[in-house]
Structure formats: C-alpha cells, structure tokens
Amino acid sequence: MLSFLIARQTGVDEPVRLRRAESTRRVLSLELNHDRDVECIHGNGINTIDIEVIEGRYMLSGGSDGVIVIYDLENNSKKPHYTCKAVCTVGRSSRYVHKFSVETVQWYPHDTGMFVSSSFDKTMKVWDTETLKPAEVFQFEGNVYCHHMSPIARKHGLIAVGTKDPKVQLCDLKSGSRIHILQGHRGEVLSVKWSPRYEHILATASTDSRVRVWDVRRASGSLFTLDQHNGDKSKASSESVNTAHDGRVNGLCFTDDGLYLLTAGTDDRMRLWNSATGENTLVNYGKVVNESRKGVKFTVSRGCSPEFVFVPCGSSVAMYGLHTGELVTMLRGHYNNVDCCEFHPDYQELYSGGKDCNILAWVPVLRHPDTEDEGADSRQLFN
C-alpha cells in the first residue's frame, strides 16, 4: 500500500488508482463486526433493504409483516460500538401500512423526501418521508413482486413495476398515469431494473425463463432477449432455446457502469451478460443455490477493481469475483435464509437482511497497529 501512496504523491499514478486499491482491499476483508449493530425492529423476516444514494446515511427496510423502517447509519457517538437506530417506522399501528408483506422499497433517487414501496397486497405506495403518509397509491390486479425507479433519470419519472401479470407496467410519478405497458413476457415478472447508464433502458426477468431488455421510448416490443447459448441452437434441448436460464429468472443486477448485467435463476446458475449486445460472457460461477419463489435481491460492489458480486445463498452471503467467477468467500452470520443485501459504496460495507429478522452489517477489518507503535503510544499516554 505504501507504494500506491508514494506513486500518488509523486504523480506517477492517478489518484483514483489508490482509491480503488484501498476499496478492493477493504472489500476483501469484510467481516461481521461486534461493534456495529442495526436495531432490530422487524418482527418478521426482512425482504428488502435500500440505502439512499445522496448521502448514504439513511437505510430503508421492508419486512414480511408490512412494516417499513428507516435507519440512520451514521455514527455520531464518539464510541466505536454503535447501533444504527431506527429513525421512524411505518408500523402495524399506522393507518396506511401495507396489509401484507412488503417486497421492494426504494428511496426516490434524487432526495430522501420520498420513497416508494410495493407489496403483496397488490398496491404500490409513494410515501412522504416527513409525514409518513402515502402521497399516491397505485392499485394492481396481482401481487407486486418488484418495482424500480431509474437512478439517473432526468427526462422521465417512470417506475417500472413487475407483478403477477406478464405485462410490465410503467407508472409515471409526474402525472400519476399507468397506461404505458410493455408486453412480451409470458409469465410473472419477478424482477425489473433500469440501466444505470441509459435512462431509457430497462431489463425485466420473468418466470418464463426469459430476460428482456427494453427501450421504453420504442413503440414495438423488447430490444432483445438474453440467450444463454448465444444463438447456438444446438446446445440446448428445444424448449430452452432463447432462454436466459433453465428455470425461473428471479434476480437482476446491473453493474455500476451499466456495461454488464447479472441474472440469477432457479437453475442454480448466475450469468453475466454484456448489456449492450446481450451476449452471455460465459463466466462460470458454479452452483449458486437459488430456491426463492420470489425475487432474489443481490448486489455488486462499486469502486473496486476487480468488482465483486454479493449473492444471498441459503443462510449466508456468497462473494464472487465478477469477471473471474471464483468464489472469494462465504459471509456466514445469519440464523436463517438471507433475502437481500445492499452495498454501501462510501464505506465499503455490506448490509444483509433475512428471515431471522436481523440486518447484519459486514464491515472491513481495520489493520491492527504494530506492537511497537502500541508500546510507544501507551508510553506517551502515561507521560
């Protein structure tokens, strides 16, 4: 690490290389820390977590009991031991709480004054954070599995919603209309994600084993469907031609630069795709255990080189190298199935929530000072 520092100081390297090197070193040393805790509010499993992008200070979580909690992640106490307290909750006593489990929550990408939650009670609610009352409620005919707002959108305020209905619905925040639908899937839509690179590109995953990439400005159907065999029709049996997975596709995640798309399916495989051409990069992650009936929420690290994927696998979180596919480590600590995980890019921390009602924080291990330094410090204290 000293070589990186000296190189940056003398101008031999760009500043971003030191930052990336240190971020990668920190991510490789993620561990459960007994100094960091998240307050346990949920009485039932936690389905979804979202950390706001502006400050990285507030975290939303949605549970199977319909409760939504907002936590403050910043450590204002001067002590190393810190519990992230819940700032406010939409509990069972609130008039507007969801009746059934909350499947997805997401902060409004531009400020924390608003957040959107969708639930199995067939509604999607747009909440005002100050008053904790829904400003808008969208009703649907089937269970809402997921929704997503584009993190970079300036020209539109569309929320893509995946429900039991094969049609993907786009709800407009500015006008409240929901007439825009995307037709093409033949099964329930389990996961939707906007591209973080182009504000009009949307990827959707469905139980019909297909992943479609759409440009919402286009009147006709999807741009392309992801094919796991890259057009090699001979490799598969005739039913699995042109499918992304051999089972239901239930997880989608774009990398931070939007150039690659990761998909996870119930055939216990995870695949990495080139998001511009739809080509399967054929990175082999091995068996990524996936038995979820709903969507799987996994995440990719940001600001490291090489990048890592964090995927909930049973009761632990598996960490894979993004482009090599090798399993780096398994983060064990939960007592029951892990449902969601979220990466905090500023501090390289990982938060994961699961059926054991806990949100665990995985914090990079600090380098311990050498014994000589410790001795010198303690002598100075006495003096």
Binding site: D232, K235, S238, D246, N284, G286, V289
Partner: protein, 258 residues
C-alpha cells in the same frame, strides 16, 4: 511506464488467498496448488486414465465429464475457455448425454473416430458413418443437428440419416433434430448414474453426512459402483453435489442438501 498496465489484483495476490477451514479455493489434489493457467489437456488425459475400458469390452472411447475438470481446477471460467478452444481446434468433442441438460461428456476426437469405425467394421452403415465423420465433425462443433442442416448443408439423404441413427452416431432429440452421440454409450450412462447414486448414498449414510475424501476412495465398493471410485469422486465434487472442506486431516466431503 509499465505500472499503468499492471492489473490491480496483482497487489492483492497474497491477500486474496484466504486459507481457512472453509476455503473452497485451492485443491491440493494432483499437485495442483494454483499459480499459472490450468493445463486442461493434461488434466483430461489424467481423468481419461480413470475410465474403465475393460468394462465395456473396449468398444467405448474414454469419456470424461466436463464438470470433473472443475474438481481439479478452481477457476471454472478458464477451464471452460480452454475446453472451447480445444473443441474449436478439433481435438475434443462434446456430447450431451441426455440425463441432465447441464452435463456434458468430453471425448478426444482421435479416440472417438477409432472406436466408432472399429464398431462399424463389417456393417453396411460403415460408408455413411465414415462420410459423416469426415465431412461433418471437422468443420462443425455443434452438439445437435437439425434436419435442415443435414439435408441442405451437408447433403445427406433421409436414408443416410436413418443409417446414422441406427449406427448410434446420432440420437433423436425431437422431431427433426438429433443429438451427436457415442454409440453404445447407454450402458455407460446407466452405470454412471447408478454409481453416482451409490457413492452419494455412501456419503449420506456416514455420520454427520460427511466423510474424508481419502476414506471414501478406500471404501469397498458395492456391485452398484462399476466405474472407478476416483472417477465418481471427481464427478460429485465437480457437480457440487458435495461440499469440499479443507481440514487438517485432508479434504472432507460433506453432502449438500438441496
């Protein structure tokens, strides 16, 4: 300046190798403790020696399953890449055995040709099979062929296609398409599935569902296990049907409950 071209991970090469009791990277088997790109061809040749030729009266070429390579090399993506390179060069042939859409069998082209022609010697279908081996295999590394392709691209007639199916080189996939297959491989598939079930049963019946790899290899095999024990062990590790845990007494195989 060369510095700008070096990859970041080089700085972390030592830190990335976390040797703990649950490390899944690094397999000391076969003197393979990583460093350098995996030599897939050498590993294939080693695995081929585990295949029992006498059992099938030498009528089958030596078959290795693709996922057995994963048990000897940790980087699956590189292994896949090298296998595809060998296939493109025409040295290796890949087949779908039919019991799992994800399982592929690998055979060296030389072996395959020799055994198929030996099996066909004296039969009426010899000419068609020879034509198929000479025309189709060198240029097309597909796993299956559709009727369209066979008729138009390779100019085979319907009668010739029937002969190829009869000889075992093609197997029916669905109406109008065929898998490339190994003649007389049905017995191999049967013994393989039987043996796999028996070996997994051995692991399951052990206390705590786990057994040391060296212990398993030394166990007396029942009559259900006809292939070599090591062959099956590589198979169950590579297919991730058991979890590989490094312990101080060697590699421990723990049954994965799915």
């Amino acid at each position: 300046m060369n510095r700008k071209r070096t990859l970041m991970p080089d700085a972390f090469r030592t830190k990335k190798r976390r040797f703990g009791a649950d490390n899944l990277i690094g397999n000391p088997e076969h003197g393979d403790v990583q460093e350098g790109p995996p030599d897939v061809k050498a590993t294939l040749q080693y695995l081929m020696t585990l295949f029992p030729r006498k059992l099938f009266n030498d009528s089958l070429p030596q078959i290795v399953l693709k996922h057995q390579l994963y048990s000897l090399h940790s980087d699956k993506t590189l292994v896949d890449k090298q296998v595809n390179e060998l296939r493109d060069q025409g040295e290796l042939l890949m087949f779908q055995l039919g019991f799992d859409s994800d399982t592929f069998a690998l055979v060296f082209s030389v072996d395959y040709r020799a055994k198929v022609l030996a099996g066909e010697a004296g039969r009426a279908t010899l000419g068609t099979v020879e034509k198929f081996l000479d025309k189709v295999l060198p240029c097309c590394s597909d796993l299956s062929f559709s009727k369209d392709k066979m008729l138009k691209q390779f100019l085979f007639t319907d009668a010739e296609i029937t002969q190829l199916v009869k000889s075992g080189v093609l197997t029916v996939r669905d109406a109008g398409s065929w898998w490339l297959s190994i003649p007389n491989s049905g017995r191999f598939t049967k013994y393989f599935i039987q043996g796999r079930k028996a070996v997994l049963g051995m692991v399951k019946k052990s206390k705590y569902n786990e057994i040391l790899k060296t212990d398993l290899e030394e166990r007396r095999t029942t009559s259900h296990v006809k292939l070599h024990m090591k062959y099956h062990v590589h198979d169950i590790i590579g297919a991730e049907l058991v979890e590989c845990i490094q312990t101080t007494s060697g590699t421990l195989l723990r049954f994965v409950d799915t």
